[in-house]
Amino acid sequence: MALEQYHGDMKMCCRCSACKFIPMQRVKGADYSYVCPSISRYKFHSYSGGGRVNIGAAMLEKGFNYTDKLLHIVYNCQMCGACDISCKYAMDMEVLLPINEFRIKCVEDGHTHPALDKVINSLRKQGTMVPGARGKRAAWAEGLGLKDATKEKVEVYYHVGCLASYDKDMQKLAKATVKILKKAGVNFGIGYENETCCGGRAFQMGYKEDFLNQARKNMEMLKKAGVKTLVTGCADGYQAFKVLYDKYNLKGDLEVLHITELMARLIKEGKLKLNKKVNLNVTYHDPCYLGRLGEPWIHWEGKKVPGDRFVFDPPKTYRRGTHGVYEPPRDVLKSIPGVKLAEMTRIKEYSWCCGAGGGVNESNPEFAEWTAQKRIEEAVSTGAEAIVSACPWCEKTFNEAIKESESSLKVHDIVELVEKAI
């Protein structure tokens, strides 16, 4: 859907400012009440979800005036969707979708961000969102004797993702995942050099066509290999395969699982036994694209029913973050002997972003780090020794923020803790 199709939604905004905060009933005090990093950092109302949709509606009506300030507003948003969820506690309207469409329009009109162009060039040339990536995508897997899912039939296809493939500090996550899957006796394989970027981050950045190219390539490869179930440890990848591919009718019958869902299932079935003690007080960070934005796509087409109410024929079911992946990672953590979980104030559907989303880690690293820093402070306030996430992008951003702040908080991906426990 193009921006024009959300005109009615954008006009519904009553400027109540709910989009700046976590849902009101969840506000526990003066600390950690804000949910949107962009308005928290840049403060003008324009940087809030409500501000953005009001700008969108006005520009549809009066024409697009691309000023430097407008582009600063557009590209300093992690597309984390927190505004969308807080708004939809009370309202029936879309917030994140028009914000995303606005960004797509900026790209289509040629108003891109140079740092994001660089990332996209890397995607077009090398099939990865990690600029400067060198060598083979599956170099990390050398000597591990993993099956090539494009050559032999496997039950589960493991999509490793760009960061865990190319980033030397994150390859440990791919190796840990492999160890876990082997231990649980899962018949799995990887795509080796046939794997390519999911395209999800490109979509968040506004490069819709590049996303679609990646999606088509991936699905062609998966169909050819006869893959029925895909698992990934990357939240962006999960959301791309499960939600975005479905949105554009490319997913077919592919079952998409995040590694936390698969591990929770294997633990429940007794196939994955966590016996070793990992003495650690942790807090869990819900990645935006696994949590609130990881809930299934709902196909809907309809028209507003003429009259007093903002209702549609057929009725529209909104995605409000209710059905994201929240419990499986927590179930896994609770299954690890010795791990004690303390929750932060902002969790699940109203979790605070790590800062990396929407290309912000590339377009404005200072803002990404600022956002991560706020989360680190919140994690420390729980008394936890470590913050655990379920996405390599989160781990990378937190580590960079901690390096700057000299905090003693440790950062782990959930697969690292499970690896220690098996």
Binding site: G8, K11, M12, C14, R15, C16, S17, A18, F21, P23, M24, Q25, R26, V27, K28, G29, A30, S33, Y42, K43, F44, H45, S46, S48, G50, G51, R52, N54, I55, A57, A58, M59, N65, T67, K69, L70, I73, I85, S86, K88, Y89, A90, M91, D92, P306, G307, D308, R309, F310, V311, P315, Y318, R320, G321, T322, H323, Y326, K348, E349, Y350
Partner: protein
């Protein structure tokens, strides 16, 4: 009207480059007005410096908090108080909290509940400024309006800092009237156009005892939060009555017996809004509840300080309801629904569901006054909504009004609104027509004077019927704002 580079620089020197903007791209995010600039001051000193510059250059300005409502002439300076968001002090002993304008009610209330305290959250919702004055769901306990403002720090339209009440003499915030200058009539003037010009930079809000939990035991995911259990000694119910008269009598007795923590005269449509998560569900639930109720009604929360106190209050309530032939709405007795309403109506977190969700806009006639009189007027205003409902211009809420008794209930708030699609010009015009007609009727039939009426009506009808208050107010404004830098109208939400 764009600022010259030199003038812009003067403002920029006060707040820093990051906190001033005149780029046209940001303007639609505020209002459909082109401001000369939007400025984000961080404290009273910066507000004062900005105001003095406005006087120097004869530039008009207006402040906003979260910015829900307001009237903004083109070309003025907008002070977005977003950075002034600190709770300065919570004084448990003397029961007041000092806040800056962008502290929202949800933040302050959450801090207070941990300390066994609460305050008056205005009906506009917990997403609005805690500093806002007005009425809300908990008026039976917390009262409303200017009773809750204690000492105030005010930057006048000329840029002077005035400290009212005890703050003016002793740096203490406990009283708005003294020892020290009391200028209550100016600082908390009741109605537009008497909205105080200048900027409130800090205010002390009166606090009240909170007998409930430090935090509600909320479970579930948005948009459906429920309570894992009803907190001890708390109960929420909705009662309907065979007539308005009986409802009013019960409301009065409840006020006099001081048993209610909250009495909110929701109509059935508002109950439906609160407990549902989308428009379609709301329509269905409203249809069902409308058949369950026997007539007008109210929502009530009982909160005991002890099991004995709770039992006593429930018995009194039972007697009052029975005497008035009231009937409890079974849907609300369901613990899940009771929990939703209990939490939502203490935390005032569903006002948007009640007002904006259905159509995107609502126009309202709110009135504070003698409750039985305003109810009688509201019945007529409700009947006048029926043709608009039939034409499909406004959302069908049964033509109902709502309201509640304040303190002991003789005075109260009554309000009636129409929810509509703002993109439907015909509907918008019909609603504005209804508003005008009902305001005129209120005055003609001597119920009350709607001071939220248009400037023209205030000038020619409302003002003259109220001792020409508008002329006095103008004189007052001229005295405190000799350079005319504060445009009238609007509210500080």
């Amino acid at each position: 009207m764009a600022l010259s580079k030199e003038v812009y620089k003067e403002f920029e020197d006060v707040v820093g480059e990051e906190n001033i903007c005149d780029d046209p791209a940001i303007m639609p995010s505020y209002y459909s007005t082109e401001f000369a600039a939007v400025i984000l001051p961080k404290d009273t000193a910066e507000v004062q410096a900005i105001v003095k510059l406005c006087n120097k250059h004869k530039l008009q300005f207006r402040p906003i908090c979260t910015g829900w409502t307001g009237v903004f002439p083109k070309g003025i300076i907008l002070l977005d108080l977003r950075r002034m968001n600190h709770i300065i002090e919570i004084n448990e002993k003397n029961m007041y909290a000092v806040v800056e304008p962008y502290v929202i009610s949800a933040e302050l209330q959450a801090e207070l509940m941990k300390r066994g305290l609460n305050f008056c959250i205005k009906g506009a919702g917990t997403n609005c400024s805690a500093l806002l004055r007005g009425h809300g769901h908990m008026d039976q306990t917390t009262s409303g309006d200017d009773r809750n403002h204690l000492a105030i720090e005010w930057v006048t339209p000329e840029g002077d800092i005035v400290k009212s009440g005890s703050l003016g003499s002793s740096d203490e915030w406990y009283c708005g009237d003294g020892p020290g200058p009391s200028i209550r009539s100016i600082l908390t003037s009741a109605v537009p156009p008497g909205v105080t010009p200048g900027v409130f930079t800090k205010a002390a809000m009166k606090l009240y005892h909170w007998p409930g939990p430090a935090r509600f035991p909320i479970v579930g995911k948005s948009p459906k939060y429920t309570l894992s259990e009803i907190p001890p000694n708390m109960m929420a119910r909705y009662f309907s009555f065979p007539s308005v008269e009986k409802m009013w009598q019960a409301e009065l007795k409840i006020g006099e017996s001081e048993i209610a923590y909250e009495l909110m005269g929701f109509n059935a449509a508002m109950v439906a809004c609160n407990i549902t998560t989308c428009n379609e569900e709301e329509e269905e639930v409203f249809g069902r509840i409308s058949k369950e109720v026997q007539g007008p009604g109210f929502f009530i929360i009982i909160a005991g300080n002890s099991p004995e106190d709770f039992e006593f209050k429930k018995k009194v309530l039972q007697k009052i309801i029975s005497d008035a032939d009231g009937r409890s709405l079974k849907s609300v007795e369901n613990p899940e629904t009771e929990g939703i309403l209990l939490c939502q109506c203490i935390r005032i977190s569903a006002s948007i569901r009640e007002t904006f969700r259905a159509g995107g806009a609502f126009n309202s006639i709110p009135v504070m006054g003698q409750r039985d009189l305003t109810i009688k007027w509201a019945i007529g205003a409700g009947k006048a909504k029926e043709p608009l409902i039939k034409k499909g211009f406004i959302v069908d809420d049964g033509g109902a009004f709502f309201g509640w008794g304040v303190e002991q209930g003789h005075l109260g708030k009554t309000e009636i609104f129409c929810k509509f699609d703002p993109l439907n010009a015909e509907a918008k015009a019909a609603v504005e027509g209804w508003q005008k007609e009902q305001s005129k009727r209120a005055l003609k039939e001597r119920y009350f004077a709607n001071t939220l009426a248009s400037d023209d009506e205030v000038e020619h009808e409302i003002g003259p019927s109220l001792s020409n208050y508008h002329l006095w107010w103008r004189k007052l404004r001229a005295a405190i704002d000799p350079n005319g830098v504060t445009p009238g109208g609007g509210a500080l939400v």
